[in-house]
Symmetry: C2
Subunit: 437 residues, 2 copies
């Protein structure tokens, strides 16, 4: 059994500390990342090729994945993985298609027609981290909403391996979702390329996707220069809520599936029942032994918080105060509790809904707000790849209806020219009326 | 007549420069603003009261506006301004009510139910700049969507005058829109108060509103610490498109109503007709003479760009490349052209739709993306004051349908514990089946 401190009914004064995630101070990276970005800004593709070599140890290769490479990837991939991606693709597509925001048109007064139209972003940039395992699910989660939104150009940057190749699973997923082009380029330099544009890689309107601390810092710096980014990044988190009815081995498996992400993963176990918590911890200890990423999971578990609240209402308050990225309600009547959720990224209801299901294939998006950002941010949706524009059209009657109100407000704000823009039009109406008389 | 250089058919190589707004480098403010924010973080209300005195020259006063002050404001305000606010309120409310995003529920496969629910942010902070004129329209534009979204707490910070009073027009507008509390506090210190919370002013989930360079810098620094903010700030802009049918004096009045905002306002006049541009400029020269803020408008006009494109298609491309905050289509058949708009904050169609009408009272929001941000950002809407949460619920059948796909994808990503979370559940189904046999 994992030894872990269980807090019983911590009072509200302690909550801010309990809700605090480890602070990642990446300020020290600023000069280094700013320098990399500046090289790309100044020297474009040349800098990218050099940085591929010096930072990632990649031998010289064309930046853009060729048609031939796409085809080889599709041919070579095993069919069960392709089938899995297609299943996930279908569900994610179905759920995101239902999200397309509605255009509206309202006649706010006779002669005043206002509308709001949603349009796709034209060119979006997706970043997919490298590493030993290809994050093909992240390709699906970023590229499918872009596809549904109707973005005309979807570019994807990801670091190649040292031989200059991209994992075929990434390429297959990208093609499945209609990604326009894939570039062999990673890290801060990839973010810079999509921010400034190079001869090969176009400047994009918005950058999406996870990454290491260099990528995160580069996205922050790009945002300061006006680039739109998806959301602030932080380590992944899960809060699992259990009661006396919960299956302890399911809960333990869910905690471990979060913990294996990285040593900085955040795991919280919340309950009204201390025995069940102990039962889950015993199971965690047993299941842990069989994991290949045992060391990582164990490190994450040292940050694990086990908290018991006897009163349901207070438990719900804490759940919302923490605002977890993933919230698993492995309890009796989860629907009832889910109606009380105010702050969370994505919620998993009942015994047969592990987070892993949503990470890959239920249809919901796995790009979600971390570090309490769920208080103000949503997970990625189709509208993250769109923007809205408002339109208004006034007839003479319309302008006459609000003309005085506008002039009165403009006067209060001491903006005479605003008032003039109304008056000069009203005067012509008056003149026309006079002419008719 | 205003002397101004008119560019004829500038080639695409020049467009990036023509679309460039003056760069506002406020990096130099960072240490100063960071210091102010840190004082508020450390000393709370005490720091706010001191900064009110030392920075804004305000004599000591309670931070929170009292009930009595609210009532005096409502009683004292002249009735025509109240009526104007009510007209604006009605239209803005009607247009924003239509924006409430729809919740969705999709059964992506038999036994897999996914939903997305929109919820209001719980506590939002609005910033209203001070100065000689009360920006009551900005109160309406920020507080009405918060009201429609259903935010449970809406706090507003605005600097008082030196006697410690808030302009009654601000207070009246705030009450009209159901603002919870108004605090006498401005500048970077107000942003800090809403970011960290003090004894008087609560920490909020998201900060909205315009401000000077100190406020803008403070919002940037708050965002780096994870605070959600509305959008990047920049000087206001208008692009006016005219053709041979346009009324030159209307167009001139619209250009001037943008120019009077500040010397850094951006004004672009676009046409397929050089004579009309000259006609408009002549009108600008005449109308300018009668403006109280003549000096400011004249300064802004020195940045004005007049551009002629003979070919309609290229003109439209340029219009979209510039991505103006406000776009006035003062042309024949504006509806036709409006269908070609890809990037803009808000669009004004036809001769009787001046920007001023939308700034105050058509119903659309006047908080809009500047500096080309309209390529990726929307203006404020009701969903800016909400967030969405996804939910998923699987039955045994649902988990059986996607279980293999999830395990396959988890395997590809080398996340064994993710796969285990599925396998452990599937195993119990198997056991139950075996038991039945």
């Amino acid at each position: 059994m994992i030894q872990m401190n269980i807090m019983l009914n911590p009072n509200r004064g302690l909550w801010p500390e309990l809700c605090q995630r480890p602070v990642m101070d990446n300020a020290a990276l600023t000069p280094l990342v700013a320098d990399i970005m500046n090289q790309v800004k100044l020297f474009g593709d040349k800098a990218l090729l050099e940085l591929n070599e010096t930072i990632d140890g990649v031998k010289r290769c064309a930046l853009r994945v060729s048609d031939e490479e796409w085809e080889i990837a599709a041919d070579g991939l095993n069919s069960s993985l392709k089938a899995a991606m297609q299943t996930a693709f279908g569900n994610i597509l179905a759920f995101h298609r239902a999200q397309v925001p509605a255009n509206i048109e309202v006649q706010t007064m006779p002669g005043i027609r206002c509308s709001r139209q949603w349009l796709p972003l034209q060119r979006v940039g997706l970043y997919i981290p490298g590493g030993s395992a290809p994050l093909c699910s992240t390709v699906l989660m970023l590229a499918i909403p872009a596809l549904v939104a109707g973005c005309s150009e979807v570019v994807l940057c990801t670091p190649p391996n040292q031989s200059g190749n991209i994992n075929p699973a990434i390429l297959y997923a990208a093609r499945l979702c209609g990604v326009t082009a894939v570039y062999k380029c990673g890290g801060a330099q990839a973010i810079a390329a999509m921010t400034y544009g190079t001869d090969s890689i176009p400047r994009v309107d918005k950058i999406f996707g996870p990454g290491n601390q260099y990528v995160t810092k580069a996205k922050q710096l790009a945002a300061l220069e006006g680039m739109a980014i998806d959301m602030p990044a932080g380590p992944s988190e899960v809060m699992v809520v259990v009661d006396k009815t919960s299956n302890a081995s399911f809960a333990a498996a869910d905690l471990l599936s979060q913990a294996e992400h990285g040593a900085d993963s955040q795991v919280v176990l919340l309950s009204n029942n201390v025995e069940k918590i102990n039962e889950v911890l015993t199971e965690v200890g047993e299941q842990l032994q069989r994991l290949p990423r045992k060391a990582i999971a164990l490190a994450a578990l040292t940050n694990c918080r086990c908290i018991v609240f006897d009163e349901e209402e207070i438990l719900v308050d804490f759940m919302n105060a923490y605002a977890p990225e993933h919230l698993i309600l492995a309890i009796e009547n989860p629907e009832l509790r889910s109606a009380q959720v105010r702050n969370a990224g994505s919620v998993f209801l009942g015994p047969y809904t592990p987070e892993a299901a949503g990470d890959y294939a239920t249809g919901t998006n796995h790009t979600l707000p971390t570090n309490g950002a769920a208080r103000a941010w949503s997970g990625l949706g189709v509208e993250s790849f769109m923007k809205s524009i408002t339109f208004q059209s006034l007839t003479q009657q319309g302008l006459e209806s609000i003309g005085n109100a506008v002039m009165e407000l403009a006067k209060a704000e001491q903006l005479q020219a605003h008032s003039n823009a109304i008056a000069i039009r009203l005067a012509t109406f008056q003149k026309n009326n006079d002419a008719k008389i």
